[in-house]
């Protein structure tokens, strides 16, 4: 009897509450805020070292109204743009070299593994030591961390090229240039794009970390500033701003591009052999 009541309740609610990804995501945020509020109210010791959701909402509103975020957002965006841009060029080139030629595979494969294994914090600290205080540190740290991820994805994409399609192209005497454009690039594109998405998110995180350590502008720098003045609500407001920004980039920009570029994947209703 006790189990049938929740089941009946679940049956009475719209399916979208359980199946729609966006709706479930909003539900999870609401649940998080509710739990946060309850814990904050019920456990008074926490109030000394933490802030309530209401305080964070107010601090975020103040941040947006003050327009301070514009300067630091533009600074972070510039750091990420340079770091990510370098990672795209270097990672793609490295991935092609390693994927296509045995010699470069032997020469660089282990470096890619090491590059992925090295903790990002070390890279941020070493970048700060090499480049000092300023914009170069976050850009360099983002580039160094993101490059091996992108290279590994391109390398994997090249290894996964369907040999049967290459044989088919040869049987029909299709020119090398057309095979590169229509078979090889198209085969690697999904892995390259997945690498881009990951590298971009990583660039934002590492650039912010490096800004925290050694920069005079940027979202990471402002998080450090708020921590120094012990404004926890201020710290959380920048974290919220950063999270919303990443979600916008992920779902508002990258997911939309993916939907257009890889329409053929979404239409895979039957599956291919």
């Amino acid at each position: 009897m006790s189990t049938s009541q929740p089941r009946r309740l679940a049956n009475a609610l719209p399916d979208s509450l359980f199946t729609n990804r966006s709706v479930v995501f909003v539900e999870s945020i609401v649940a998080l805020v509710v739990v946060w509020s309850l814990v904050y109210r019920v456990l008074p010791p926490i109030q000394e070292s933490f802030v309530s959701p209401t305080e964070v909402v107010i601090a975020t509103r103040d941040l947006l109204v003050s327009m301070i975020w514009v300067e630091h957002f533009v600074a972070s965006l510039t750091h990420v743009a340079y770091g990510f841009g370098i990672a795209v060029v270097a990672g793609t080139t490295l991935g092609i070299l390693v994927g296509w030629w045995d010699f470069w595979e032997k020469a660089f494969q282990d470096y890619l593994t090491i590059g992925i294994a090295v903790p990002s914090l070390f890279v941020a600290i070493f970048s700060a030591m090499w480049f000092g205080l300023g914009s170069t540190t976050p850009a360099a740290a983002a580039a160094i961390v993101a490059t091996p991820y992108l290279a590994t994805n391109v390398y994997g994409g090249i290894n996964n090229i369907d040999n049967d399609l290459l044989k088919m192209s040869r049987a029909f005497d299709v020119s090398r240039l057309r095979v590169i454009r229509r078979v090889i690039v198209q085969s690697v594109l999904p892995d390259w794009f997945a690498g881009l998405r990951y590298a971009l998110a990583l660039s934002w995180k590492i650039a912010s970390l490096a800004e925290y350590i050694a920069a005079e502008q940027g979202i990471g720098y402002m998080i450090r500033f708020e921590m120094r003045v012990l404004d926890l609500a201020g710290v959380m407001s920048w974290v919220v701003f950063f999270t919303v920004l990443l979600l916008f980039i992920e779902y508002g920009v990258l997911a939309q591009i993916e939907k257009r570029v890889f329409a053929w994947r979404q239409n895979d209703s039957v599956g291919w052999s």
Binding site: D164, F172, V174, Q186, W264, D268, W272
Partner: protein
Amino acid sequence: MSSETSTITTDESITTDNAGSIHIENLTKEFDTAEGYELVFEDINVDIEPESFVCLLGKSGSGKSTMLNIVSGILEPTEGRVRFETADGTGDVTLGHVFQSPRLMPWDSNLQNIEFVNEDNPDYTEELGKQHLDLVGLSDHYHKYPGQLSGGQRQRVGIARALSIDPEVLLMDEPFSNLDEITAEELRKELISLWSELNKTVFFVTHDMTEAIQLADRLLMLGDGEIYGDLEVPLDRPRRIDSDEFLKFRQKAIDTFHSIDED
């Protein structure tokens, strides 16, 4: 040649009078393996007439796909050569290929898959691509992706792609072996219908005796490095696989096919 189905209609812009002949001369193939040279076949001589439908039969590992790959130019022979004769006398042949799996690019629409192999074809237009998809019964699927089609439909696109380059010779490597029997049977009938309409020379590799007798004018049997069986199929079309004549000939072909095991 008579048609088994009446569903195939050819557009005037699709060529129907350019079949080529194949002449396999003293063909030998060896593979260089870790254990030394492995002989696949030796001194094979076969002439295939224009507009004929020839099936090459053999057990797994007999070298039938190797021979098809040499005929198609993908593999080089160790000795001998493959020569083609065309209606215009140049011997400059265009080969159409249909593979065991369709080998379509999943990111391209069916029409784009056909366009892909027509790079050097000055006469190719989108309209011609559509006509070839019409030819294999895919009029409503021009802009669909291969992933949206069934296995049989994808193989039809593969056939349309091969025909779109206007080949003098069509090379088919077990094209129906990955399909369920009902779909395979349907496609065999359509292939015969297309062949009757388009008058192409077809060189078809299979290990399925019933399929071979249903389709071919002539059966070649490859094994132990030689062509040990060469049978004309004396059956009228359309061929019913349960008719007495079919079953009688099938038994004769099977006896020939297994004769190599007795030697």
